[in-house]
Amino acid sequence: MKKTLSIFILLFVSGLLFLAGCGGDNEETNTDGDDGGSTEETPSSDEPVTLTFYNEDGEDKSFDDPVAEKITEATGVILDIDYPVGGNDETIPLMIASGDYPDLIFAKGDIGMLIDAGGVIKLDEMIEERGDHLKAMYGDQLDRLRNSVDDPNIYNVGTYGVHDEPLETSGTFQIQLDVLRELGHPEITTLEEFEDALTEYTEMYPEINGQKTIPLALQGSDWRWLITVGNPAGFAGGFPDDGQWSVDTNTGETIYKFLEPEYRDYFQWLNGMNVKGLLDPESFTHTQDTYISKISSGRVLAVADQDWNINDARFALIEDDMEERTYAPLPVTLSEDHVHQALKDYGFAGGWGIAISSTSEHPDLAFDFLNWMASEEAQILLNWGIEGEHYEIVDGQRVLFDEVRERMNTDGNFSKETGFGYYIHPFPNWGTGAVDSNGQSITVNTREQVIENQLDVEKEVLAEYDMELWIDWFPPQDELQLSNHGAAYNFSIPAGSDIAIIQQRADDITEQRITQAILADPEDFDDLWNAMLDELETANVEKLNQEMTKLTQNILELWGGEVN
């Protein structure tokens, strides 16, 4: 008895000691790391240093592909990439609460919180002193990286391409190539023509591959409501994409976008589509997986979605020899009077980017890494891959190997497996319009390349329309006014501010009420819509508009005239 008891007590005491030891240890190792880190890192540059990197757009990926190895070779940096799990938007707040920051942070719109919490450092001086590549890249648009009028410092770099000339659109209505083909290549630019085309084709083919034809499917059951329900309404109404806002880029006047009458008209049309049975009745209840599997089966005639959201389905369709069931973007608006803004030039959008944390042990190295990523050498590596492996130089021009192009277009995992094109976003990067010192395009998406990437069916259909690219269908960029404020979704909204709270409330209201209105009896639509407007008013949307207007005007002031 005595013996067992003593053993018990011994165990317990040693347990306590162990716990106590752990507690002390932590601090010790921390300081150890501090000292060791700084002395070790500077002299020996041949030993790669691991930098932790939180990428809000990231996924499970290790930094060991061929392109990553080249990056490590040039910079001595290995990235340890962390990513949010399941669209988790609490990661940054939790990071701040714990004070445990990775070295590099891509926080998207949450950068404001990090700045408030002192979690990230100012980059102005470093850019001035040794950020040559960054300076060369951003040029006179460097001001667009600044934080705010009150705090005009630069905290992050990257994300958006500098000097973009869109060669492809995304986020508008898209229709199956086969519909265009079967209907004799009609001109489709209004909702009415769009609806007629869907009706006609559905009557011709009530079933596709033995399953019921779905004329139009949306994915409005989760956050994707924003990109498949909210944003397409804006495009149809002739608005550029400003997130949840409608902005007058000259005066800075900003309002919550669902207050615009065009949105009402669009959703009334969608309500009609639902009544006529042209809208998938499960559009607001099915999961993303179901949605993708429906599209992959080839029986969804039209979607209103971002390309990246339905990429999996596109690859599946090509895999199953149903290339004619892939989609063509449509410049559809409410009526002839509305101008589609898909090709609008937002300028370098600023706002989002990669920041260096204040707790990083290697801030200089981290900055040099980001600076190097902006260099021409790096940009060619990131965009074109490795010479001899992904591309070759023919007559002084970079040309992708055929199998690389093939895999790029058909294999969804290609980029992730080989690193080819994987590290462009969200690092500082050149846009589609940029050229290197030899005058060659820095991105692989040149006009010629895009044409080469098209599927055969796509080319046939385009030829019938006398077009080379789908963007030729849309009002050209030079007819659209350049955005002086960038894009409103890039504004960093102060955390926990009235704007953030009221907007969350307003978004909750609109997502729910608009969905209900779409699915309602057409007679009730007006009442439901007006009830929603009342609810928004009660939620103080007026104040929201005022505050946002102020924010836009600040941006206009901060970027003042430096727009090109």
């Binding site: 008895m1 007590i9 317990f12 005491v13 707040p93 009745p281 209840t285 969350q504």
Partner: protein, 337 residues
């Protein structure tokens, strides 16, 4: 330290068994034990027991009581980068904000609504299932049924939510069944009816947890004195009568204790099911307090506001459990404390 602890008297008596009373919980040491003059003496006698419980007491203090200090956040405009002494104190501001927020009342209504439904149907289903299982004669089949029935407990809510949405989709099995037997003319879009959402959540919850929750009732039933059944049989009681007059009364204390504990947790129903099963159409019925705290509290960096919600929840829980316990005490049933 160990030096002081090592010399333990061999006379230490270990009064383990008598501390378990009828309801199966740990009770106080009976006062009448001989040879004890005062409390101190008794403490000394139980030195070993006290020592053994020490780690758990420490655990309780560190993980359950120390965090309560964080409640001070609710009375500050908390900024994580500032130290405790640099925070600005704002009194009850966050509570006022909370109680002025109409969305919060909707969340409260949904939480309590789904909590009560889950409690009532969850308990009823578990007891009924345990009763039926108890009546089964074939031991092997009984074991198999039990094993299968508690498997869903181990399935993650993410998967359960997917199963449920697929089953209830317009072209799903449930609608196929309903239309083929002619119960409905056109398929019902279950997931798009706000009025049905509580029901869907409760049904999913019952499906997932019945087997698991039945285990404890089933175990309690196994402890029933077989003589009672024999006597009843002699008196000519049918199996229904035996269930009603013997099995159920014998597990009554267990039912009451579990009910009281569950009532205390009425407001802590979590948010996974609602978040995973909900969509934009039913969101006004799916918003629960935890989800509200997530979206409007920590997700927006409003730690103080989130903490205020947490305090509110704790207070409600304590009130509920005290009320439930005193009701049980009044009607003379088993209770928790």
């Amino acid at each position: 330290m160990s030096k002081n602890l090592l010399p333990v008297t061999p006379e230490v008596n270990m009064p383990v068994t008598p501390t378990i009373n009828q309801t199966g919980k740990k009770g106080k040491q009976p006062k009448r034990s001989p040879g004890e003059k005062n409390g101190w003496q008794r403490l000394k006698n139980q030195k070993a027991l006290l020592l053994m419980s020490l780690p758990f007491v420490i655990w309780l203090i560190v993980f359950r009581y120390l965090p309560v200090l964080g409640w001070t956040m609710a009375f500050q405009d908390y900024q994580p980068q500032n130290s405790f002494f640099e925070q600005s104190w704002v009194g009850l501001k966050h509570f006022r904000d909370l109680f002025n927020e109409p969305t919060f009342y909707r969340a409260l209504e949904n939480t309590i609504g789904m909590g009560i439904l889950g409690l009532v149907f969850g308990t009823l289903a578990a007891i009924t299932f345990a009763l039926l299982l108890n009546e089964m004669r074939f031991t092997k089949l009984k074991k198999l049924t039990q094993t299968i029935s508690y498997l869903p407990h181990f399935v993650s809510w993410v998967i359960v939510a997917n199963i449920v949405t697929t089953m209830l989709s317009i072209s799903g099995p449930v609608n196929n069944l309903l239309t083929s037997i002619g119960l409905v003319d056109s398929p019902i879009n279950f997931m798009a009816r706000p009025g049905m959402f509580w029901g869907v959540v409760t049904a999913a919850e019952v499906w997932k947890s019945t087997g698991w929750n039945a285990i404890i009732y089933f175990a309690a039933m196994a402890g029933t004195d077989p003589q009672l059944y024999e006597a009843a049989k002699v008196d000519g009681a049918s199996r229904w009568r035996q269930m009603w007059h013997i099995t159920l009364p014998s597990i009554r204390p267990v039912i009451i204790v579990l009910l009281i504990l569950n009532i205390g947790n009425l407001i802590n129903i979590g948010f996974e099911k609602q978040m995973l099963l909900g969509n934009n159409i039913v969101s006004e019925r799916a918003l629960v307090i935890d989800l509200y705290a997530l979206n409007y509290g920590i997700g927006m960096f409003r730690y103080s506001f989130g903490t205020a919600i947490g305090i509110f929840k704790s207070v409600i829980s304590v009130i509920l459990i005290v009320v439930a316990n005193s009701v049980a005490k009044k009607v003379g049933e088993g209770r928790v404390f």
